[in-house]
């Protein structure tokens, strides 16, 4: 009885093995496949597919295999793939992650690997390029950039008798309270207390997180201008002119703005597509960030960089794909779905959507956040300071002093 079972079992194993061997995929000897990971939205992904078709026509021996990830899962997916030795060849990643991954040794140093790196680097906006710089080397190139500008609900402004959006911070403070009425309508709402939310006004009012050489934070994040910037928002909050949603668990800024709950929010160019889908009847209006202190420092740089994996098996082909993404043709093509190009030569181009102008103008003065592997923890420290002052647990100065100490500690750690 058990002899029969033994034979049955063994033949089953053998059959499975044979079936697997004969079904293994056969790779074409000629073409090279480059894996490309991204977090594009749905309309952007469709446009990317067309861009890939164009690229593959010009480069018949290179095949691009894109994979889309949700932003929340993306970092974990990249880490898991690196740990498993299956890192993608090319990735489009958040600019603030680049130093962190570079420190781990996951990225290919581009300024030495790419022969015409300098030519491409000179053609892009300096702010976005700086987000790729860590430890004296360049680890990527900006693929698309963005910044935040003021969104103002024209209907609510008209109802309050305000003709134009605010141009200075003083006007902004005034308008925010004029447009507030109890809990039915707030003049201004932030998305949260993470640094990206207060950053535009913070930079506009002359705030800084560290010195230019990124060596110390004391005297900068808790310096006069930075404290004044946060105090400004704190005062508005205490007067009830800023919605309490920023502390969590409230109505989101996108929804609130379109439904007339928040008269002003500060957000990015992706709002155009979001409103087109979710609130097609809402007319979104953009305006530059109100000027605070000086005219050369307003709003914050966001965007994505394109990086190459240090462990890629197809370096020349990967770099060809990267170079193509940086070309004017590709940049203009992706601009059609809202990805702002990084080539400074394209500013004011007639081939770009009209609403890009306010963003690209803002980019001339937008400030980059600190390019450091521990940025995430620094963000947490400023987040904590902002939250504590909003909850009344600390004054703005005390809270930011604490943040300065934490950030200095992170800068000291190598």
């Amino acid at each position: 009885m058990n002899r029969k079972l033994f034979f049955l079992f063994t033949s089953f194993i053998l059959l499975t093995l044979i079936a697997t061997v004969f079904n293994a995929p056969v790779r074409a000897a000629e073409s090279v496949t480059i894996t490309y990971w991204h977090t594009y939205s749905d309309p952007e992904t469709a446009q990317l597919a067309r861009l890939i078709d164009m690229f593959q026509k010009d480069n018949p021996n290179i095949k691009i295999e894109p994979t889309k990830y949700a932003y929340d899962d993306y970092k974990k997916a990249i880490l898991t793939s690196i740990a498993g030795g299956q890192a993608p060849d090319v990735m489009r990643m958040d600019i603030v992650w680049v130093p962190q991954f570079a420190k781990q040794g996951a990225l290919l140093q581009l300024d030495t690997a790419m022969p015409d790196f300098k030519k491409i680097a000179d053609a892009v906006f300096p702010g976005p390029l700086a987000t790729n710089y860590w430890d004296g080397k360049y680890w990527g190139l900006p693929q698309n950039t963005n910044t935040q500008v003021l969104l103002w609900n024209q209907k609510l402004f008209d109802a309050a008798g305000i003709k134009e959006p605010p141009e200075t911070v003083a006007e902004f403070v005034d308008d925010a309270c004029k447009l507030t009425s109890g809990t039915k309508q707030y003049g201004y709402a932030l998305g949260g207390t993470y640094f990206w939310a207060p950053a535009p006004l913070f930079y506009s009012m002359g705030g800084k997180v560290t010195d230019d050489k990124v060596t110390t934070s004391t005297g900068y994040v808790n310096g006069k201008e930075s404290v004044a910037a946060f105090q400004n928002m704190l005062d508005l909050y205490k007067k009830g002119c800023i919605s309490p949603n920023l502390l969590g668990g409230g109505i989101g800024t996108a929804q609130g703005h379109a439904t007339g709950l928040y008269a002003m929010i500060i957000d990015g160019p992706w709002m155009v597509d979001i409103y087109k889908t979710d609130y097609p009847d809402f007319k979104v209006r953009f305006a530059p960030i109100p000027v605070g202190m000086g005219t050369n420092n307003s709003s914050v740089v966001g965007g994505e960089n394109v990086v190459v994996s240090a462990t890629t098996q197809h370096q020349p082909e990967a770099l060809t794909w990267v170079k193509y993404l940086m070309s004017e043709k590709a940049q203009l093509f992706m601009a059609q779905v809202g990805a702002i190009p990084v080539l400074s030569s394209l500013t004011g181009s007639k081939d770009l959507p009209a609403y890009f102008e306010v963003f690209m103008n803002q980019l001339k003065t937008a400030q980059a956040r600190v390019a450091h592997p521990s940025w995430s923890a620094m963000d947490d420290a400023i987040n904590a300071a902002f939250t504590k002052m909003l909850k009344g647990e600390k004054t703005a100065q005390e809270a930011l002093d604490e943040a300065a100490k934490t950030i200095d500690g992170l800068l000291a750690k190598k």
Partner: protein, 317 residues
């Protein structure tokens, strides 16, 4: 006659029918081991080996791209974790979560099981309805609870305000202590059905004859419950206590989604969500592994203590 003695008899009869050599082959039965082999291989590959590898990582400052460059730091990761105020707070939060959800599930689960033990029309429908939360996705129900407890437009605030119990809306998800209320409610709601099913099985093992004898003696409902039902449910309840505690210590997804906004300043972490942040946000792989082993130790000790001091066999003949 017990099963074992029947088998011995059959085996002896078969041995007499076959010759001596065939007897020896018959006795050395390989089939069971072959059937166990695939499962054992999977266990070693996907559970045992990663666990041991993770233990190894916990003693290093691990580099994920070039593991060979990782620096051996001995027990430093464990010490760092134990002295880290965020980790300490996460342990406190996890313990509080357990202290509320475990008794909550057991008490409500037992209550529901007692009701579902009776015979009434629609009993199967109710049994299904109470079990449904158990099979829902943690992600979806967490989002649902976040929606219900929204500080500006949530239904919970709306109901409480219309009942006159509160004047201002409560910002549940903006405070690290208040947020435990929706989280523990979610944990209890999700587990009651499963607990009820287990208790129901335990209830049905209690012989009807005991209740009949008690009725003859004139016992009322409360006496029946305290003197018959509870003592005979003891093994079931101890089992639930141990298993639900292990589950509570491992609370993860609901905490992960709640902490995602970053508003709670690392004060509302559970042990596993803090481990997740250390590992995948801060790239501190060694410390993440150390935290997971610290949790293992805590769970092991707690379960051991529970079983040691509570398990007792109760038999009424």
């Amino acid at each position: 006659m017990s099963q074992l003695s029947v088998r011995r008899q059959v085996s002896a009869q078969t041995n007499q029918a076959l010759g001596l050599r065939e007897q020896r082959i018959q006795q050395r039965n390989f089939a069971p081991y072959l059937f166990l082999l695939p499962g054992a291989v999977l266990f070693v590959l996907f559970i045992l080996w990663p666990m041991l590898y993770s233990l190894r990582i916990s003693f290093f400052q691990w580099n994920i791209v070039k593991p060979e460059t990782s620096v051996n730091v001995g027990v430093q990761n464990y010490l760092d974790a134990l002295t880290d105020p965020i980790f300490q707070r996460s342990v406190v939060n996890t313990v509080i979560y357990g202290l509320i959800t475990v008794p909550g599930q057991i008490i409500f689960g037992t209550f529901v099981a007692l009701l579902l033990n009776a015979r009434f029309p629609g009993r199967t429908l109710f049994r299904t309805l109470y079990y449904l939360p158990v099979i829902t996705s943690w992600v979806i129900v967490t989002l649902l609870f976040q929606y219900l407890f929204n500080g500006q437009a949530g239904m919970v605030n709306s109901v409480l305000q219309s009942l006159g119990l509160i004047r201002e809306p409560i910002r549940w998800l903006a405070d690290a202590r208040l947020v435990m209320i929706p989280l523990t409610l979610l944990g209890i709601w999700k587990g009651v059905g499963w607990t009820a099913v287990i208790v129901l099985a335990g209830l049905q093992a209690i012989p009807e004859s005991l209740y009949e004898a008690a009725a003859v003696d004139g016992a009322n409902l409360r006496q029946c419950f305290l003197q018959i039902t509870l003592p005979l449910l003891r093994p079931t309840l101890v089992f639930l206590l141990v298993v639900l505690t292990i589950g509570a210590m491992n609370v993860y997804i609901s905490g992960l989604l709640i902490n995602r906004s970053g508003n709670l300043l690392n004060e509302a972490h559970f042990v596993l969500t803090w481990m997740d942040k250390q590992t995948f946000e801060n790239f501190n792989f060694g410390q993440g592994a150390a935290i997971s082993y610290l949790l293992t130790a805590i769970v092991f000790i707690v379960s051991f203590v529970q079983i040691r001091f509570l398990q007792r066999d109760v038999m009424y003949s």
